[in-house]
C-alpha cells in the first residue's frame, strides 16, 4: 500500500469547513454554493482562500442526484434508453450510443451499416452542439457576451436537424437497441449538407472572436494547468487529457461504430491549461465536421436501406408488416409488453463523449430488465482534478477553470 500522495488528494467539504468552524482564521472559507452564476449548474464549491489566492477547493456534488441508475433497474432495456438521455443533457445522443452499444454487446446483435454510419454522423453533430454550448458559456463567464449568441445560432440549426430526425430537439432517444428508432427522413441529407458547408466558416468566426483576443489570452494562458501524470492519476479523460499532451481518444485508440475507417486527426496540445483546452475543443469541432462530411458521403452513396436490425427478437417489425404476418404480430406484441431478454452476463461499452470517456457497464441476469447499470460519466471523474488545478489560482480564475472543465451536473450526479 503506497502512502497517499497528500498533494493529489481530493478534499471533501467537511475537511475544509470543520477546521474553519474550530477557529482556524488564517484563511477564509467561501461557499460558492449550489445557486451560483458561474458553477454551470448546481455544483457547490467550498473554497479556502488566503486573501485572493485559492488555498484549497472542495467540490460538493449531489444536488442534482436523480437516481437514474436505480430507476433504470425498473425499466426494460428499450425503456431505459429514455433514461440515458437525461444524464448528460448537452449530448443526449452520446449517452444513447454508449448504452445501446453496451446492450448490443450483451445481445451480440448485428446493426446494419446504414444505422452505424447515421449514428456516427449524428453523434458528431451532437459533439459540435455540445462544444457550442461549452464555448458560449465559457466565454460568457469571462464576459464575452457575443460568443454565446453566435454559438447558439448554430446550435439551433443542429437542433432543427435532431428535431427533423427524431421529433425532439434535445431528448431525442433516437438510437434504439439494434439501430435507429425511425428511418432518416428524405430531406435529412440536404439539410445536413447545408449545415456542414457553413460550419467551418462559423468556427472561423468564433476563433476570430477569441483565439487572438488579448483579454482572452490574458485570462486563460497558464491558468489552471495540470500535467499529464496528475491527469492520469485523476482518471481525467477527454479534451482536458488531450490538452496535457496525451494522445488518447477512444475514437482512434479503441474504435467503435467503425471509427477506424474514418480519417480524422486527434488535436492535442502541450501544457494543459485553460487556453489549451479551448484550442483542443475548437479543433475538435473542426474534426467533427470532417467526420460528419465523410459519414454524409457514405450515407449518400448507400442510398435507402435497413435502419434497424431485422432480428425480430430485438427490434420491432415495421407496422405495415404486422397486419399481414402472424409472427410479426407476435414479435411486436412480445417486444412491447415484455421486451427482449439478453443472456446472463455483463458488458461494458466506452465511447468518446464531448466531455471524455463515457462508459456504460450493464449486468444482466437474463430478465427483461437490466440487473444493474453503472454509467461511468466523465464529468464526475474529471471534477476530482478541480482542486489540484485550482490551488494557487486567483478566485476569479476559478470561474474560468470551472467553465473550461465543462462539467454537466446531470452527468456528475446521475
Amino acid at each position: 500500500m503506497t502512502t497517499i500522495d497528500r498533494t493529489l488528494s481530493v478534499p471533501s467539504p467537511k475537511s475544509i469547513t470543520a477546521p474553519a468552524l474550530a477557529g482556524k482564521t488564517d484563511t477564509m472559507v467561501l461557499n460558492m454554493g449550489p445557486h451560483h452564476p458561474s458553477t454551470h449548474g448546481v455544483l457547490r464549491l467550498v473554497v479556502e482562500l488566503d486573501g485572493e489566492t485559492v488555498v484549497n477547493v472542495a467540490p460538493d456534488v449531489g444536488f442534482l442526484h436523480t437516481g437514474i441508475e436505480k430507476n433504470m433497474e425498473f425499466k426494460t432495456y428499450q425503456q431505459a434508453v429514455v433514461m440515458t438521455d437525461r444524464t448528460d443533457y448537452l449530448a443526449p445522443l452520446s449517452n444513447n450510443l454508449s448504452y445501446v452499444l453496451a446492450v448490443e454487446k450483451l445481445l451480440a446483435c448485428e446493426v446494419p451499416e446504414r444505422a452505424t454510419v447515421a449514428r456516427v454522423l449524428l453523434v458528431e453533430l451532437q459533439r459540435i452542439s455540445s462544444h457550442l454550448v461549452w464555448l458560449g458559456t465559457h466565454a460568457l463567464d469571462l464576459a464575452a457576451m457575443s460568443v454565446f449568441l453566435y454559438g447558439f445560432r448554430e446550435r439551433e440549426q443542429i437542433l432543427d436537424i435532431f428535431e427533423m430526425v427524431s421529433g425532439a430537439r434535445m431528448m431525442t432517444s433516437y438510437f434504439r437497441v439494434g439501430g435507429l428508432a425511425y428511418d432518416l427522413p428524405s430531406d435529412f441529407l440536404p439539410t445536413v449538407k447545408a449545415l456542414l458547408d457553413i460550419m467551418p466558416g462559423r468556427i472561423d468566426e468564433y476563433e476570430d472572436l477569441l483565439t487572438n483576443n488579448t483579454i482572452w489570452q490574458e485570462r486563460t494562458i497558464g491558468i489552471g494547468a495540470i500535467d499529464s501524470a496528475a491527469a492520469i492519476q485523476y482518471g481525467y479523460t477527454g479534451p482536458g487529457l488531450r490538452a496535457t499532451g496525451i494522445d488518447w481518444d477512444l475514437r482512434k485508440d479503441m474504435p467503435y461504430c467503425g471509427y477506424e475507417t474514418y480519417d480524422f486527426a486527434v488535436p492535442i496540445a502541450s501544457n494543459g491549461d485553460i487556453y489549451d483546452r479551448y484550442l483542443v475543443r475548437v479543433a475538435e469541432m473542426r474534426e467533427s465536421v470532417k467526420i460528419a462530411r465523410q459519414a454524409w458521403q457514405r450515407l449518400k452513396d448507400m442510398g435507402p436501406g435497413a435502419f434497424v436490425t431485422n432480428d425480430r427478437k430485438v427490434a420491432p417489425p415495421p407496422k405495415t408488416e404486422i397486419t399481414h404476418s402472424m409472427e410479426s404480430l407476435i414479435h411486436h406484441f412480445k417486444l412491447w409488453t415484455e421486451g427482449f431478454k439478453p443472456p446472463r452476463g455483463d458488458a461494458i461499452a466506452a465511447i468518446e463523449s464531448p466531455r471524455g470517456e463515457l462508459a456504460t457497464y450493464i449486468v444482466s441476469d437474463g430478465g427483461p430488465k437490466p440487473y444493474r447499470v453503472h454509467l461511468r460519466t466523465p464529468s464526475f471523474i474529471n471534477l476530482q482534478a478541480l482542486p489540484h488545478m485550482a490551488k494557487g489560482q486567483l478566485v476569479a480564475d476559478l470561474v474560468a477553470l470551472i467553465a473550461s472543465m465543462d462539467p454537466v451536473l446531470g452527468e456528475v450526479d446521475r
Binding site: 477564509m28 461557499n31 449550489p34 457547490r44 486573501g51
Partner: protein, 118 residues
C-alpha cells in the same frame, strides 16, 4: 462673498433632498413584508455557518496604501494647482514636504512589488 457659498449650499441641499426623497419613496410605496427567513443572509442557497467577520489577510494593506497614494494625494493637488502662483515658494515647500512624506509609501510599495502587475 456669501453669494458663491450660497450656490454651493443650495447644491448640497438639493442633492441631500433628492437622496432622502428617493429612499423614503421606495420605503412607502414598495410592499414591505420582512420575514425572518427573507432577511437571512444570502449564502448562494446554503445555510451560512461560522461568523462573517473574519480577520482580513494583511496583504490587503498594500491595496489601501496604493489607494491613498494615487487617489487621495492627487486630490490635494487640485486646490494647490489653482493657487500655487500666489502661494509662491513657501507653498512649494509645504507641498514638497507633503509629497516627500508620501514618497516613502511609494518606495515601500515598489520594494514590496505591489505595483508589478502580472
Amino acid at each position: 462673498m456669501l453669494g458663491s457659498y450660497a450656490a454651493i449650499l443650495a447644491m448640497f441641499g438639493i442633492a441631500a433632498f433628492i437622496a432622502v426623497f428617493v429612499i423614503t419613496l421606495s420605503r412607502f410605496l414598495g410592499p414591505q413584508k420582512p420575514t425572518v427567513r427573507k432577511l437571512a443572509p444570502y449564502e448562494s442557497g446554503m445555510e451560512p455557518i461560522g461568523e462573517a467577520m473574519t480577520r482580513f489577510p494583511i496583504k490587503f494593506n498594500l491595496v489601501a496604501m496604493s489607494f491613498i497614494l494615487f487617489d487621495i494625494e492627487v486630490i490635494f493637488f487640485f486646490p494647490y494647482a489653482l493657487v500655487y502662483r500666489d502661494l509662491g515658494v513657501p507653498g512649494l515647500y509645504a507641498m514638497g514636504l507633503f509629497l516627500l512624506v508620501l514618497l516613502v509609501g511609494l518606495v515601500y510599495e515598489l520594494k514590496k512589488g505591489a505595483l508589478t502587475w502580472d
